[in-house]
């Protein structure tokens, strides 16, 4: 019967054909160099078909070489392939698909598509730029390193940091992980989560790989890993060491450098950015302080000089003014005194003159009065024929005081008469 199956199948499947499948497991067999791949077809994540295949040593080596060339990845588990195969039935080994060739371009396209899907998904979830939008501390001094202790990349990185010429000091601690191949995403994620628990001790996380060649980088497009990096609360920086297209991990990382050494240089640059202005500030400060002191000193000196000259000048000026004032004062007062004295002399003269005329007038009046007085002398009046009549010792000036029979005495110039009134006539006077 087995011979019949073998014959039927050989007749039915005479030629090789191209078929699409997923390499569920490659199953290499190192002693022989052959592989016994387990191929599946998946729909919505579930396996709907499965077939075992043979990949002979020579075919495997040839195909793997081309994969490394085109994809930068070896033929490995989980990869989608387009293969050229031939169905064969062996009575001893059963039904098998012999893989003659695999098209690396197709797988490359598939990987690229997966990569784009990861990017798309991160963007849709709004976390693609999350890590990149964090702020790097001014001095990223404390670095958690995810790497392999024995790798060249790790030693390049820490040597560049430690051997810097400026004495910058970093603190770093290694969180060892697998950095290549299928197991690396889980391994890196595990270390990222460990770092999260001691996050207060670190300013940034550096994922360092190097010395592993350009292959096995597809793992850095893994969705879970890229998500973990994007959402990491401190900057994640990568130095994965390759020159081909950036992986998604590098795209979402805060900063990506091509090599670990470049990444270390980036950190040193951060320190420079801090140190250079510091140095400049220190120099400028001394400069300014000196200059300001010098300027102030000059200003002070000038002010002093100016003050001295200005005050001297002012003093002289005031002295002159004073002298002039004194002179004017003296002149003025002398004039005034002179004029006052003149006024005084004049007044005195006037006074003397007045006095003389006063006395003259007085004397004139006196003479006049003397003359008048002389006219009024009773003796003289009597001589001129007037008499004075007295009654009872009193002067008689009218008839009212007298009555007939009264005795009156009449004084004349040369004697007196005593008479008795005979008759009184009241007249109207003289």
């Amino acid at each position: 019967m087995t011979t019949s199956i073998q014959k039927t199948l050989a007749e039915r499947y005479t030629t090789a054909f191209w078929v699409k499948a997923e390499m569920n497991r490659l199953n290499p067999h190192p002693p022989s160099g052959h592989c016994y791949p387990e191929l599946v077809e998946k729909r919505d994540g579930r396996i709907i078909a499965e077939i075992n295949a043979n990949l002979w040593k020579d075919d495997y080596q040839r195909i793997n070489r081309r994969f490394l060339q085109v994809l930068k990845e070896p033929l490995k588990n989980g990869i989608t392939i387009l293969l050229l195969g031939k169905i064969a039935y062996d009575p001893l080994y059963g039904l098998r698909l012999r893989i003659i060739d695999i098209d690396p371009a197709y797988s490359l396209g598939e990987l690229e598509r997966e990569k784009l899907e990861t990017i798309d998904r991160l963007k849709k979830e709004g976390i693609y730029a999350a890590n990149r939008s964090l702020t790097m501390p001014l001095l990223p001094k404390r670095i958690a390193i995810i790497s392999v202790e024995t790798s060249k990349g790790y030693s390049d990185f820490i040597q560049t940091l430690a051997g810097n010429d400026w004495g910058y000091q970093f603190f770093h601690m290694l969180f060892p992980a697998i950095l290549q191949g299928e197991r690396s995403p889980a391994s890196i994620i595990r270390q990222l989560r460990r770092i999260r628990t001691v996050l207060t001790h670190f300013d940034a996380v550096a994922i360092i790989r190097g010395g592993g060649g350009e292959v096995g980088l597809t793992c850095y497009n893994d969705y879970s890993l890229t998500r973990e990096i994007a959402l990491f609360p401190v900057p994640v920086i990568t130095g994965i060491g390759h020159s081909t297209n950036e992986t998604v991990s590098e795209m979402v990382a805060f900063r990506n450098a091509i090599t670990p050494t470049d990444l270390a240089d980036y950190l040193l640059q951060c320190f420079h950015n801090y140190a250079v202005p510091l140095q400049k500030a220190s120099e400028q400060l001394t400069d300014w302080a000196l200059r300001i002191m010098r300027d102030e000193k000059t200003i002070l000196l000038h002010a002093g000089r100016y003050f001295r000259s200005a005050t001297g000048h002012l003093l002289t000026k005031r002295q002159h003014e004073m002298d002039r004032s004194i002179r004017t004062l003296r002149q003025e007062t002398t004039g005034q005194v002179r004029s006052k004295r003149q006024e005084l002399d004049w007044a005195r003269q006037k006074f003397t003159d007045r006095l003389a005329s006063f006395f003259q007038n007085g004397r004139r009046e006196l003479v006049y009065m003397e003359r008048t007085t002389a006219l009024l002398d009773p003796q003289k009046v009597l001589q001129r024929g007037y008499s004075i009549t007295q009654h009872a010792g009193r002067l008689v000036s009218g008839v009212a005081d007298l009555k007939e029979g009264d005795m009156v005495t009449t004084t004349l110039a040369d004697g007196t008469i005593t008479s008795i009134i005979n008759q009184i006539d009241k007249g109207d006077g003289v």
């Binding site: 400026w166 603190f171 670190f202 510091l278 500030a281 400028q284 400060l285 300001i292």
Partner: protein, 79 residues
């Protein structure tokens, strides 16, 4: 992190920013002789703080390892 810095001494970021501010002030000619000596003294202190930060190490592996022990003892999460 910032919260854990010694409160008496400004952290390197604040020190750096304060220093820049003083420099700008002096550069702008806004500082008189009276304040100058004060400012220069302050700036010199800030510079020395900042310089120290460049050349000293912070972090203690042993302490971190001790803190990690607690975490590592927990059963591992499934990815």
């Amino acid at each position: 992190m910032k919260e854990q810095q010694n409160k008496e001494q400004p952290n390197y970021k604040d020190a750096f920013e304060e220093l820049q501010a003083i420099i700008a002030e002096i550069e702008g000619g806004a500082i008189g002789v009276d304040q100058l000596s004060e400012k220069v003294k302050r700036a010199a202190l800030l510079i020395s703080i900042c310089r120290d930060k460049l050349t000293t190490t912070e972090g203690d592996v042993n302490r971190i390892l001790k803190e990690l022990e607690a975490t590592d003892a927990l059963p591992e999460e499934d990815d």
